[in-house]
């Protein structure tokens, strides 16, 4: 992407290394990773299970400290920050979507989405109205007051995406967001997450072990045993099959009937 290359990278990793010590064994989960990701990109990190994808993502999200190397995100050096600073950094810059959704079980969809705004100190009226807009944007207008247990997996992940984006982060991290979903729902969620990030010019970094997903990304980073073995820019990412608007509404309707 020429356009992207001309700009400053939003994420710059230099010689990033993570060593886990298990007993006397030393395991290099990441071994000298150099990587640049540009604003607005949809980057896909793929690789076998155990190749270090999650470790890489978690370190970029400031959830884990590197053993060596540097992480520069949105102009900040993450490896020098304290835990409290990292929490603050996440709140202001980063959204996170989990494989197992990790919604707050006791709260409604609306409250779940409003939660990060509450952590930010936004008043109840404002955060509720912003959460409503966000839920409408992910196609859950009719499910605002449902609890997670009253929703299907696809709907729960939509709530998860809405919750991750409600604070308008610069970067959205997603660790196998479709890992717990069936084939069709996976595609719908992928489309939703990609389109919504594209619309907002949010950088999206997604981990997956599904090679199919990679063809829809702007950049593909392949890991093997903690090494980057491929870093390619997709000039013309494939279209995700299925109509955008219709599919979203179908999902909601279908799952309503379950």
């Amino acid at each position: 992407m020429e356009e992207a290359a001309a700009r400053e990278p939003v994420i710059t990793l230099k010689n990033l290394t993570k060593i886990y010590t298990i007993g006397s064994e030393k395991l290099r989960a990441l071994d000298g990773v150099d990587l640049e990701i540009y604003p607005g990109e949809f980057a896909c990190i793929i690789g076998r299970s155990g190749s270090g994808k999650s470790t890489l993502l978690n370190m970029m999200a400031g959830l884990e400290k590197p053993s060596k190397g540097s992480i520069r995100i949105a102009g900040k050096q993450l490896e020098r920050m304290s835990e409290a600073q990292l929490v603050q950094f996440r709140l202001n810059n980063v959204g996170f979507v989990f494989q197992s959704f990790n919604l707050f079980a006791m709260h409604t969809a609306l409250d779940n989405v409003a939660m990060p705004l509450m952590y930010k100190g936004v008043g109840k009226m404002t955060r509720t109205s912003r959460a409503r807009k966000m839920l409408t944007a992910v196609g859950l207008k009719t499910h605002m007051n449902h609890k997670p247990t009253q929703m299907s997996g696809g709907q729960q992940q939509r709530v998860g995406i809405a919750r991750a984006l409600v604070t308008q982060p610069k970067i959205l991290f997603a660790d196998e967001p479709t890992g717990n979903l069936d084939f069709n729902t996976s595609r719908e969620i992928l489309r939703l997450i990609r389109d919504i990030c594209h619309e907002r010019n949010t950088t999206l970094i997604m981990v997956t072990h599904d090679p199919e997903m990679a063809q829809y990304a702007d950049r593909v980073v392949r890991l093997l045993d903690g090494h980057v073995i491929e870093n390619t820019v997709n000039e013309h990412p494939a279209e995700i099959p299925g109509g955008v608007q219709a599919a979203q509404d179908d999902t909601v309707r279908d799952e309503d009937e379950e």
């Binding site: 959830l63 494989q99 990790n102 509450m118 952590y119 919750r163």
Partner: protein
């Protein structure tokens, strides 16, 4: 995060596990009630004893004596060994003093007799006081206080002393006034127009040696003064200061003493200084200050407040033992709070991890857990107070419970309450305990809250992958 959000999140988390929260709170309720009720028993005993003391003694009175005993020249302590009228004036000028009077017990080498008509009181004991001060110290049942005039003897008596007027020609009949008064009855007073009659006060020489012929006989053996009874004091068995005396005006006594000084001296009565002075404080609270001033002045004193202090100390000893038991039950409650919080954190490990990933401040997480612990204290303590007030009511009003308590307390004189309320919960006790319970709850939440804050967000998210 806004405070209101922290508070409401904590409350929601608490209400999520109703049964467990309730059980934990129950511990706090029991702890609170144990402390409040045991302390209230002590307070009840104190109140009852104070009431008993107040009904028998005037706590505002301080008795003052000249300084006698050990030599204090080494310590530099002032000593006033003779209380004269100028000393009385100094005491009167002290802060918090309402009234001062010497208590002149007229000792005499003979006898006093008061007589009116056929009745004679041959056992009169004369007590002379300053009239205005006496009026402040002692209440009358009828009649009036001294007029201030020294022309004629005026006296005031209690009904107990009035019983001593008898007809000498009739057979002596002893009246058990103690039993009568104790039963609340009226004394069988002789039929005298008490405040209207004319009395005579006779000062008579008596030879106690009964040698024959007498070893010594003064020239004048008898003096007689006209007298009027102006007031009647109520018959009060506890008032050993005035009830058994014929109280008269000290200024009158001074006058006749001056006029008959050599004769009085011959009779063995001298009035150069006072042995015993009464000081009345403006309020009970002033007593301590007065005592300090008397001490600095170089006088000795005694006050019923000293008894109060001893009594309070005794009650405090018992109370601290009972309070200790209450504190132990509170400690158990605190451990149970900490345990509940740890369980709650363990269960919510994942949720806390997600909160951290979503950007919830560490201090906010800690505060949410502290508040959850505080809620247990606030609600548990509040319910504990309701329980305490109910128990206290039962202790004070339900017959069979009172009987059980009485049988337990029978060995302990301190808790003899003589019918008034056994358990007294003051607002200070209630609110103080409540605040303490909340503080203890927050303290027990401190470590769990710290643990919650320190949880690794990553481990939390991973554990279900």
């Amino acid at each position: 995060m806004k405070w209101i959000d922290i508070l409401s999140q904590s409350l929601q988390n608490l209400l999520r596990r109703k049964l467990r929260s309730l059980l934990t709170m129950l511990g706090v309720v029991i702890g609170t009630a144990a402390i409040v009720v045991t302390m209230s028993l002590g307070a009840g005993a104190e109140k009852a004893q104070m009431e008993a003391l107040e009904s028998t003694t005037n706590l505002k009175l301080v008795q003052v004596y000249p300084f006698y005993g050990y030599d204090t020249s080494a310590t530099g302590q002032r000593r006033v060994t003779k209380i004269t009228d100028s000393v009385i004036r100094d005491i009167r000028a002290m802060d918090g003093v309402s009234a001062v009077t010497p208590m002149v017990n007229v000792w005499f080498g003979g006898s006093f007799a008061l007589s009116t008509g056929k009745y004679e009181n041959s056992y009169a004991q004369l007590l002379a006081v300053y009239p205005e001060d006496f009026a402040k110290i002692k209440k009358l049942k009828s009649g009036r206080y001294f007029s201030g005039s020294t022309d004629r003897m005026e006296f005031i008596m209690s009904e107990i002393a009035m019983l001593d007027f008898r007809d000498p020609k009739k057979e002596y009949e002893w009246v058990d006034y103690y039993s009568i008064l104790d039963a609340g009855g009226e004394l069988p007073l002789p039929d005298i127009n008490w405040l209207g009659a004319n009395y005579k006060l006779i000062l008579r020489w008596e030879d106690y040696s009964q040698a024959e012929p007498p070893n010594y006989e003064p020239e004048i053996t008898e003096k007689e003064f006209k007298a009027r009874m102006v007031g009647v004091m109520p018959a009060d068995l506890n008032d050993w200061q005035f009830s058994y005396y014929t109280v008269c005006n000290l200024n009158w006594l001074k006058k006749i003493y001056k006029e008959n000084k050599s004769w009085f001296k011959e009779m063995g009565f001298e009035m150069e200084s006072y042995d015993n002075v009464y000081v009345l404080a403006d309020t009970v609270e002033d007593v301590e200050e007065i005592i300090d001033q008397l001490n600095d002045y170089g006088l000795q004193y005694s006050s019923p407040l000293e008894m109060v202090a001893i009594m309070k100390e005794q009650i405090a000893t018992v109370q601290s033992f009972l309070g200790f038991i209450g504190a132990i039950s509170m400690l158990v409650a605190a451990l149970s709070i900490a345990n509940t919080m740890m369980m709650s954190i363990y269960e919510r490990t994942r949720e806390i991890g997600v909160m951290k990933v979503l950007g919830c401040r560490l201090s906010n997480i800690r505060m949410m857990f502290l508040m959850e612990a505080a809620y247990i204290g606030v609600f548990g303590g509040g319910l504990g107070l309701i329980a305490s007030y109910s128990l206290s009511y039962a202790l004070n009003n339900v017959q069979w419970i009172q009987e059980i308590v009485a049988s337990f307390m029978s060995g302990s004189a301190i808790f003899e309450t003589g019918g008034s309320s056994t358990s007294v919960i003051s607002p200070q006790l209630a609110l103080g305990t409540w605040a303490g319970v909340v503080a203890v709850s927050v303290l027990s939440g401190l470590y769990p809250a710290y643990r919650a804050m320190r949880l690794s967000s990553l481990a939390a998210i991973r554990n279900a992958d």
